[in-house]
Symmetry: C2
Subunit: 418 residues, 2 copies
C-alpha cells in the first residue's frame, strides 16, 4: 500500500434515489474496512445525512458515524431501495464547495466518496480542485448512480438496470391488459434528457424481432424518446395506423419528449402551469399532465374509420419505477462493485476519480462487466444521450439497443397468448 494520508472518510448519496444505491454505500464501507481502515489510514467512516447538505452543517448533526455499523445491519440496509443516508437535490457551486471543504477540515476527513449522477461528479471535481489549491490533502471519488443511464464513459449506470426491469415488467402486464380490452394506452416514463429508460419498454416484447412497421410489432407498438424530435401530427398518424389494424395501441413515451425546436412537449400540453423546480425546470415527474394531455390529443384529434371514438387511457409511471423493491440481480451486484472499487482506488493512492462500468462480455448468457476509473472532469456535468445506433426511425429502438439492454435486467417471464 502506498504512503497515504491518515484521517477519516465520508460517504454521501445524492439526487434521485434508486433501488440499489444502498448497495453502493455498503460497497464503499466494505471496501474501506478491507483496505484503508484495516491498515489504520482511515479512522472513522462517516455518512452524510442528506448528502452535502448534511456535511456542511456547522454541528455534527448532519454526520452519522458508520465505523462500527454491524455487518448484518449493513446487509439489510444494502437490500433496501432508496438512499438510506437521505439524499439531496442541492447542486453545489464554488461557494458551497468551500463549505464542504471547511467541514472536511473540521472533521479531519481525507477521503470523500459521493454516490450520484453527473452533478455529484462535478461536486467531487470542484471539491478536489479546491482542496488541491489550498494544499489540503483530500481524495475525492465519484460513485456512479442514476436510473437515467446518462453518465458518459459508462457502459451503463447502477440504478438503470433495476428501473429498466420495472419498466419492462410493467409494459408486459400493461400490454396484455391493453390487448384484453382494446383501445389506446399511453405510458409516460421517466427520463427528461435521456431516453434509455423509455427505450427499455421494448424489452416487454420478449425476443420478438424489432424494427418492422408499428402495426406489425409486438407491444409496445410505439416508443418515443427525447432524442428524436416529436411531432404531434406524426404521433397521431402512427397511433391511427396501429389502431386501425389492431384495434389497440400501446405507447411508451418519455416525459422529456421535445419538438423539432427542442421545446418540451409536456408543458405545451398542460392546461395549467406546472411547478418549476430549483434548476428552473418545469416539474414533470409525478404529474399526470403530459399523459393526460396526449390522451386528450388522441381523443379529440383521432377520427378512426367507423367513427366510434377509441378508448384512450394514460398512465404516468411515478417514483415507483426508481425504487421498486425487487431490483435486477445484475444491478445489485454492480452497484456493490462500484462502491467497493472506489474504496480500492483510494487505497491504491489515487487522488480523485469517477468509477465507471465497462462491459467485458455480451455473449449470450455470459454477460460480464468490470469497474474502471475515469477523470472526474470527463464525467462531471456531461449528459449521455441514447446514441443513433440504438434508435430505429422516429418511433422505435433498434435491435442493437435490445442486445445492449436485455442482459442488464435479469430474467423476464414468458407468457403465451390465445
Amino acid at each position: 500500500m502506498p504512503d497515504l494520508v491518515a484521517g477519516n472518510a465520508v460517504i454521501g448519496q445524492s439526487g434521485g434515489p434508486t433501488a440499489v444505491i444502498n448497495q453502493s454505500l455498503a460497497g464503499v464501507i466494505e471496501g474501506l474496512r478491507a483496505g484503508l481502515a484495516a491498515s489504520g489510514k482511515v479512522g472513522r467512516i462517516f455518512g452524510m445525512r442528506h448528502g452535502v447538505r448534511g456535511l456542511i452543517k456547522p454541528s455534527t448533526d448532519g454526520l452519522l458515524d458508520l465505523t462500527a455499523l454491524d455487518r448484518a445491519k449493513l446487509e439489510a440496509i444494502a437490500r433496501a431501495p432508496s438512499a438510506a443516508l437521505g439524499s439531496t437535490r442541492d447542486k453545489p457551486d464554488e461557494a458551497y464547495c468551500e463549505k464542504i471543504l471547511d467541514s472536511c477540515r473540521r472533521n479531519d476527513i481525507r477521503y470523500f466518496f459521493y454516490i450520484g449522477g453527473n452533478d455529484s461528479a462535478d461536486t467531487c471535481r470542484i471539491v478536489s480542485e479546491k482542496a488541491s489549491t489550498s494544499s489540503y490533502e483530500l481524495r475525492c471519488f465519484h460513485v456512479p448512480k442514476t436510473i437515467d443511464n446518462d453518465l458518459v464513459e459508462n457502459d451503463h449506470t447502477p440504478g438503470f438496470p433495476s428501473a429498466a426491469r420495472y419498466v419492462a415488467l410493467a409494459l408486459m402486464g400493461d400490454g396484455l391488459d391493453n390487448a384484453s380490452l382494446g383501445g389506446i394506452k399511453i405510458n409516460v416514463i421517466m427520463g427528461r434528457n435521456a431516453g434509455f429508460l423509455t427505450a427499455a419498454a421494448a424489452l416487454a416484447r420478449g425476443d420478438v424481432a424489432l424494427g418492422s412497421a408499428p402495426q406489425d410489432r409486438a407491444a409496445p407498438h410505439l416508443i418515443y424518446l427525447p432524442e428524436v424530435p416529436f411531432s404531434t401530427d406524426a404521433f397521431l398518424a402512427d397511433v391511427e395506423a396501429v389502431y386501425a389494424k389492431l384495434g389497440r395501441c400501446q405507447i411508451a413515451v418519455s416525459e422529456g419528449i421535445r419538438d423539432a425546436h427542442g421545446e418540451e412537449i409536456g408543458p405545451k400540453l398542460m392546461r395549467w402551469p406546472g411547478e418549476v423546480d430549483a434548476h428552473g425546470n418545469v416539474q414533470l415527474s409525478g404529474s399526470g399532465a403530459l399523459g393526460d394531455g396526449l390522451a386528450d390529443l388522441v381523443k379529440t384529434q383521432l377520427t378512426p374509420k367507423g367513427g366510434k371514438a377509441p378508448r384512450v387511457r394514460a398512465d404516468t409511471f411515478g417514483y415507483i419505477q426508481r425504487c421498486w423493491p425487487e431490483p435486477s440481480p445484475v444491478d445489485r451486484g454492480e452497484a456493490r462493485a462500484v462502491g467497493r472499487y472506489a474504496a480500492e482506488l483510494a487505497a491504491s493512492g489515487d487522488a480523485s476519480a469517477s468509477v465507471i462500468i465497462v462491459r467485458t462480455s455480451n455473449a449470450p448468457d455470459a454477460y460480464r462487466s468490470d469497474c474502471a476509473r475515469a477523470e472526474l472532469a470527463a464525467v462531471a456535468r456531461r449528459t449521455r444521450h441514447v446514441p443513433p445506433e440504438f434508435i430505429s426511425g422516429t418511433n422505435d429502438v433498434s435491435a442493437a439497443f435490445h442486445a445492449y439492454c436485455r442482459p442488464l435486467v435479469g430474467e423476464l417471464p414468458k407468457f403465451e397468448r390465445l
Copy 2:
C-alpha cells in the same frame, strides 16, 4: 355422476383484468376435462372472445375452440396476467341476455361459465332465469374476479391479493424514497367504491403496530378510503401534523374518496371535465387529475411553520396495479381453485351458482381457504365495502384489517433503515 344434459361448454372473462384471471380460465378447463368432458357430457369447450360481446356475434368468430388446447400452452396462458380470451365492459340487460341465450342454443351450449365481478354474476343470473323460463337446460356459473375485493359472500376475491401485493411493495419503495428526499407524497390507488386495495397500502409498514397518531406511524402515515367521508380541511390538518414532526408525509388515497354528502372528491378538484364512461361514471383511473388536484391543494393551502413551501408530489397508480406480472402465490392458487370448483359444481348437477372463497384458517403461517357456493342472486349487483372493524378513525386501517390482508399477499421483503 348425476344424469346430466349433454352439450358444449363456454367460458368467458369480463371487466377489468387481473394478474390471475387466466388461472381461473385454466381451472375451469382443467375441471371440465377431469369431469364433464371425461364423462362425455361436454363435447366442446369454447372460449368467448371479449366476453359476452363475442358470444352474441351471429357468426362463430367470437368463439374460440379450446377443447384440444395443449396442456403446456394452457399453463403458459394461466401464468400470464390479463384476460387471455379478451374482456369486455358490456353489462348485459334483459335484451342482451336474450341474445346470449340464443347463441347458447345455436352452439348447443349447456354449460356457461363467466369469470368476473358482480355484473358478471348478474349476467349469469339473468341468463339462467331466461333459460329456465324457456325450458332450455343451461347451467350457469359465476367465477369470482376483481382487484376491488368488493364481492359479497367472499372472504376476498381472486385478483385482489396480487393487486394488494403490488400496492404494498410500491408503498414500501415509495416510502423509503419519500424518507430520503422529504416532502409530501400522495399516492392515488384504484377502487372507486371499495377501499380494500387502498387499505392494503398499510402492509408496507411491515409488522409495525397500527393505530397510533399519524405522525407516530410508520409510512404510509395517512390512508383515505371511500368508505370514510373525506374532508379537505381534515386532510390538510392531518398532513400538516405529520409534516411538522417528520418533515415528510406519505399518503395513500383511494381514487373514489367522497365528501360527507357522498360526492366524489376527484371531479371537484379537476381543472377540466373528465371523461364519462358508458355507465355514467367520470373516468378516474389512468388520469392524474385527482392526484394533481390534491397536490395543488397541499401546495396552495399548507403553510408550514418556517414558511418554506413543502415539496409535494403525486403519483396515480395506473393499470399496472391490476396486471403486474408477478402475482401473489396465494392468489395464483385460489384463482385456479375457483375455476376448477365451478366445473366441479357443474359436474355435481348444480344448476347455477356463484363460487365463493371461504377462509378456513388464519393461524400465523397456516393460512387456508376453501371454495364454496352461493346463489347467483346473493352476489349479483351487490357491492361489498370495507367494514367498520377494518377502519381506524378517519385516516387509517385497523389491526384487524392487517391480520386479514397480510396472509394473502405472500412474502414481503424486510428492510433496515439508518
